[in-house]
Symmetry: C2
Subunit: 136 residues, 2 copies
DNA sequence: CGCTTGACTTAGACAGTGTCCATTGTAGGA
DNA sequence: TCCTACAATGGACACTGTCTAAGTCAAGCG
């Protein structure tokens, strides 16, 4: 049922009820939750789970590369379990809705050598902003 | 001396000592200060300026499109007075150094219609991440 | 199967960043 | 110069995230 959980188990993660619940919440149908939203949903399944545990667990998942941290608004980080298909984000400036998108071009290649200032570039993060159909 | 100040004056901004100081800080040592850093520098010039005023003033400058809000790390917002030449940012993953860069391609065009989900897209924000020469 | 141990969880205090509000001050026009 | 609307003040508050000390438990081992 939970791919995410499978992969984590395979990495020698000690499996606890708390971690299972966090993984389930992320893997469920809700995308791009904040840490506190994850915590709220986790509490529904496991009332005594603490905020710190959710933060720790999310942080570990990010370190393991199983989850991506996104900050599209300038507020709380959001967690995106879709870490295995590279993608970018499209955000509604009005309601904050977020969609995963897959740009065509070679984003890394768009930056000429003369604009790299000796940096070794490893990653490009793109956020498209606009107004979604509902808000238009 | 201060283009920024000129432009703001031209928009009918009520000119106060506080706003002048904030504009000078941004236009001076320029480059990607956080709000609290701006406040610290402003206090050097005008000791009684309050934190709230700096936050308000920066917010107004952003609304007027004279300054851009950047959040490259996932911590404090930074303020970029270089709002009139469209540009993106290159960030060192280790030391946090930030450089303005000017990518070649048509970033907006990179997103095919089929990936727009009915959004009216108005803006693209790109952050290149890597390691700077000093940290390498 | 029960022990042992070190990793995990907990609750709550704390820190950083940003916002709000009631009050006081003041820029700029009449 | 005086008025008034707009701006600044400062301190409380809210949100997000981190840390710590103490208790708990998963999982390997005998």
């Amino acid at each position: 049922m939970s791919d995410l959980l499978e992969r984590l188990r395979g990495r020698g993660w000690r499996m606890t009820a708390q971690r299972r619940v966090v993984a389930e919440v992320l893997d469920g149908d809700h995308m791009h939750l904040t840490a506190d939203e994850v915590h709220a949903r986790a509490v529904d399944k496991l009332p005594e789970i603490s905020r710190a545990t959710v933060y720790n667990t999310l942080g570990e998942m990010v370190s393991l590369g199983e989850v991506i941290e996104v900050s599209t608004d300038h507020r709380a980080k959001r967690y995106d379990p879709n870490a295995h298909r590279p993608h970018q984000h499209l955000v509604c400036a009005r309601c904050g809705a977020i969609r995963d998108v897959h740009p065509a071009g070679n984003l890394l290649g768009d930056l000429p050598d003369t604009e790299r200032f000796g940096f070794t570039i490893s990653d490009v993060e793109v956020t498209y902003r606009g107004i979604c159909p509902n808000c238009a």
